[in-house]
């Protein structure tokens, strides 16, 4: 489909490319993505090093916490436990062992209840994922319209008021807001539940009622989790749109006689959303962190709360596993954001501009 001429232009090669089933576009895109993936490898490696390092920077032996539940434990028992966890081996050996088990998604057993860590995490994953996805959707649904509207009439009423709200939102501690909401909506007004994911008589509900009940319980946690990101993204959307609207191609669109609405959405927004994709990818760690607060305060049995409890109880295998997983999820988020951006921006998807 692309002639030999085009082969010269988009890849910078100096020989003609014969007709092939793969378009040059696809090859360039694929190599870009592969390069990005390879760049993640050292980061992944460092994440595992850091996770592992956390456990061993602690004072005393990691098994002390397990030991402390039974003061009568003898020296032999202690030594046996250490051998079991491989704690009597040199550090780098321990790391290698842990790494190889982690690669097989075997995070060991929890110090608290001796259950496989992987199992504990998997049973909590859906809830955390639900909260994160819902809060992301909420953020997008509010922040994007907010930012766009503010950008279209900069300096006017809506812009000023929303800027004030954004600033206040930035500066509010989310855990305080959670407390506030609990006090107001949960205790005083009794409109919304303040803990758990199910009501007490959950068992008696039909399946639709169960879904609704869960949703009702999730309103506050999702709201709190979304709160921080809302301010940031809406401000970012605004500045991105303001910049886009100053571009020459917007002037061209208007000079063509297009109605303002089409100029704004079809021409403006499609460009303005591009940086937001990248920002969303970068906000994944904040989203995960936000879940920790929301889950802890609202007693949601999710990964964030698991992490908090594990930290408090010095349950190191769980802590290490979750730090690693958190890092991996972030990288996945970044990766997908990159892919989405590369796909959405033709300048990347179709390769660099030909030289003149």
């Amino acid at each position: 489909m692309w002639s030999a001429e085009c082969g010269v232009r988009s890849t910078g090669l100096s020989f003609p490319i014969p007709h092939s089933p793969f378009r040059i576009r696809d090859i360039v895109m694929a190599s870009y993505l592969i390069r990005r993936v390879l760049g993640f490898v050292p980061v992944l490696f460092l994440i595992t090093v850091i996770s592992f390092g956390i456990m061993h920077l602690a004072p005393g032996k990691p098994t002390d916490a397990a030991m402390s539940f039974n003061p009568k434990v003898s020296l032999e028992a202690r030594q046996r436990l250490e051998k079991l966890y491989g704690l009597d081996r040199p550090l780098h050996v321990q790391y290698a062992q842990w790494l190889s088990r982690t690669a097989r998604v075997d995070f060991g057993r929890s110090f608290l209840d001796d259950r496989p860590v992987t199992e504990k995490i998997v049973e909590r994953l859906p809830i955390t994922l639900t909260i994160n996805v819902c809060s992301l959707l909420l953020i997008l649904g509010i922040a994007i319209p907010l930012g766009v509207t503010a950008a279209v009439r900069p300096g006017r009423w809506f812009d000023r008021v929303s800027t004030v709200f954004v600033f206040i939102g930035y500066s509010t501690p989310s855990f305080w807001l959670a407390l506030f909401c609990i006090a107001l909506f949960g205790v005083t007004l009794r409109w919304l539940p303040i803990s758990g994911v199910h009501s007490l008589d959950y068992e008696a509900f039909g399946s639709v009622h169960r879904w609704l009940d869960m949703g009702w319980h999730l309103i506050l946690p999702v709201g709190i989790a979304a709160f921080g990101g809302l301010a940031g993204i809406s401000r970012f959307m605004r500045s991105s749109m303001v910049e886009v609207l100053q571009q020459d191609y917007i002037r061209t669109a208007r000079a063509k006689g297009l109605p303002e609405r089409r100029v704004l959405f079809h021409h403006g927004l499609r460009n303005g959303l591009l940086p937001v994709i990248t920002i969303l990818g970068l906000s994944v760690p904040d989203l995960i962190g936000g879940a920790v607060i929301a889950e802890t305060i609202f007693s949601i049995p999710g990964m964030g709360r698991l992490f908090y409890e594990a930290v408090m109880a010095r349950d190191y295998p769980v802590v290490m596993a979750l730090v690693t997983i958190g890092g991996v999820l972030t990288m996945l988020g970044n990766f997908f954001a990159d892919v989405a951006y590369a796909y959405a921006d033709p300048r990347i998807r179709v390769g660099a501009a030909e030289s003149r």
């Binding site: 020459d248 191609y249 061209t252 000079a255 063509k256 499609r270 033709p346 179709v350 030909e354």
Partner: protein, 270 residues
């Protein structure tokens, strides 16, 4: 009967309490079928005149006064819908930087078809065929494939050709070209100018050509107006203004251009 009558057009920009007068009482006419150029140094207000005609300047901070009459319609007072029909349909624009004047996330074809569907009766497949026809007409080869290409895949000259196609696809009466060749290589400049001249003849367009380059003007324009500090200081046929300048400012302009020679064959009308 002039196509456009501009009377005492003034443009002021108000920013942070300060007011700058960009255009101060400019008056001239644009006749049908002529190429009239506005020249002057940077900052003399010529681009502001071009954009003010169809209210393309951002209205705060810009303040426009005066009259721009097209027949019986006063463009500066007309309602927004009227103006939108005129933009692109009757008065079209081509801008200086073709690379940034085309939307990078839409294909050239989409942007061209958009203009066609807006101002003509063609739709869908017919509009597409018309788009291909126009791309060929402005000298873009492999037009059918190029429709699906993105602006960054085109060279500068091709981008400008595409912009011209987009501007002319609706068969406007007036084409406003704001420094159309300034951002291009010299050899491409000549090609684009020839293209403009040929299209103008074939379509019997009027062209308002904005430029700071007298060579460009001499090549294709019929009349030329010289602007300085927001005022129109001289106006007349190209031969007269450029060879027997009346105003001292024009004389100074002529003295400073280094590339033009009086003996060069002019590539214009009879």
């Amino acid at each position: 009967m002039p196509l456009l009558k501009i009377e005492e057009l003034s443009v002021a920009y108000r920013r942070e309490g300060r007011s700058t007068q960009a255009v101060a009482g400019v008056s001239f006419t644009i006749e049908p079928g002529e190429i009239i150029a506005l020249v002057g140094e940077s900052g003399c207000g010529k681009s502001s005149v071009a954009l003010a005609l169809t209210r393309l300047l951002p209205m705060p901070p810009a303040f426009v006064s005066g009259r721009v009459m097209m027949g019986h319609t006063s463009l500066l007072d007309a309602p927004e819908e009227t103006l939108r029909a005129i933009r692109g349909g009757v008065i079209s624009y081509v801008f200086q930087e073709p690379a940034t004047s085309l939307n990078p996330v839409l294909t050239v074809g989409e942007q061209l078809v958009e203009a066609i569907e807006l101002h003509t009766a063609s739709r869908g497949g017919q509009a597409k065929r018309l788009a291909i026809e126009w791309l060929r007409r402005v000298g873009i080869s492999s037009a059918e494939e190029r429709l699906g290409a993105y602006p960054h895949e085109f060279s500068g000259g091709m981008q400008q050709r595409a912009m011209i196609a987009m501007a002319l696809a609706a068969q406007p009466s007036l084409l406003v070209a704001d420094e159309p060749t300034t951002a291009l290589d010299v050899t491409i400049q000549v090609q684009i100018l020839r293209l403009l001249r040929d299209l103008q003849r074939t379509l019997n367009l009027s062209v308002l050509l904005i430029s700071h380059d007298l060579m460009v003007v001499e090549r294709i324009a019929h009349r030329v107006g010289v602007m300085a500090a927001g005022k129109l200081v001289e106006l007349g046929p190209v031969a007269q203004v450029l060879h027997q300048p009346g105003h001292p400012h024009t004389q100074q302009l002529l003295r400073y251009r280094s590339m033009m020679t009086l003996n060069r064959t002019r590539e214009t009308h009879d």
